[in-house]
Symmetry: C2
Subunit: 211 residues, 2 copies
DNA sequence: TAGCTTAGATACGAGCCGTATCTTACGGAC
DNA sequence: GTCCGTAAGATACGGCTCGTATCTAAGCTA
């Protein structure tokens, strides 16, 4: 007569179900209304199971995000810094859309109030990864190709496309294809060209190397 | 025997005290722990008084921010687009530091989940105001001076310093003097120069002017 | 089969939410 | 000065979420 209680899950199987519950709950009620009770209920488990694994909802969210984050880490060599940068921003787009705007803002708030935040390891790791791809792959290739010189590429300039992409996403919640090409073609490439025209700041001699 | 109950405040006097309480509470417990109970208690009043005026804590926070926001709206004419831009970013810096990183992120989350959000009128108003100062003052002056041409200045490029400044603030919680000059001198001015060198997009041939 | 780990159920106190109710201080009208 | 309407301030409430404590029994391991 008593209904069959669901089989008891453990380890990876259980965690996977919890992550899925987090993701579904995010989709359904949104970040601000994401609760531990809600996740536990949806996952068919109970709160203590969650608290045994994560300190709180932010850390649980971060873990779920890690779990669902696509982990493509390579930028195809397109042959030009322009297209490589577009590819990098597309990767950024994929990741940011996976995480979502509110969760990303939520993680940022958490970081901003708990500077040591081990849990935000995740956000910083994404950030660091993107940064490395820019400097060690896109820029490095550009230097090899002779598309740019080291003096030309200060830190700000190297991070320019990334910063603009993140800014756009945090403000609008999206990073459309068109925005990417605008960032690259209307800002980044001109900025590179501008620095090329006056390679050394001291000897600024605009427009002397002839077209 | 009974202690003298504090004199009952009304109107502007009361609201001022509430705003001050919000600000103090923000300072003391931080954005995520800012509660209506806490504000009411600190202001020496009670929750119904707050809820009669604002729908919730986010709206109360926004109102307090408006109240404390310095309202300098002018950018001195420094004689160059470079220095005008620095002045604009300094204004942005002042405003963002007044609001604070977490509150700004919190308002952004609120906007992101309630798109119509009338209350975030405040954030968008700040944004719009800065935008207007950039296009209608800084850029307009530059065009008058002949420092730039209209074709040179697409939307992305015009918003570049603002976007970078906001990005920096949201990530680090600050916008130091040095960051401002880097944004302007290492990115914005070169980008302008780059667009000047190749006014029409059709002729853009990146990486061809090298040695 | 015995025993250990831990999933899952349940209950709890605490804190905050937003609202309802009530008293009473204050300000304006006369 | 008196009367009255408005709104401040106190209090209490139900509801939700938090994070934890306690207990059971399921399932793995020896």
């Amino acid at each position: 007569m008593g209904r069959e209680p669901a089989a008891r899950r453990r380890g990876k199987e259980l965690e996977e179900a919890i992550y899925q519950a987090v993701w579904d709950e995010l989709q359904e009620v949104g970040f601000t209304k994401l609760t531990m009770d809600g996740v536990a209920k949806r996952a068919g488990t109970s709160k203590p199971v969650l608290y045994r694994r994560w300190p709180g909802r932010i850390e649980l969210l971060a873990a779920a995000a890690v779990h669902f984050m696509p982990d493509r880490e390579s930028i195809p060599d397109t042959g030009s810094i322009r297209d490589d940068t577009v590819a990098l921003l597309s990767l950024m787009r994929t990741r940011m859309l996976t995480l979502g705007r509110s969760p990303m803002l939520g993680l940022l708030i958490h970081v901003s109030q708990q500077p040591e935040a081990e849990e935000s390891h995740f956000l910083e790791q994404l950030q660091r990864n993107i940064r490395n791809l820019m400097t060690n792959v896109v820029i490095a290739r550009a230097l090899e190709r002779g598309e740019a010189t080291p003096e030309q590429l200060n830190d700000r300039l190297q991070m320019l496309p990334i910063d603009l992409a993140r800014s756009q996403f945090l403000l609008t919640g999206d990073l459309p294809e068109g925005a990417i090409t605008e960032i690259v073609d209307d800002v980044f490439m001109p900025a590179l060209a501008g620095r090329a025209g006056q390679v050394r700041d001291s000897g600024a001699r605009p427009g002397r190397e002839g077209k």
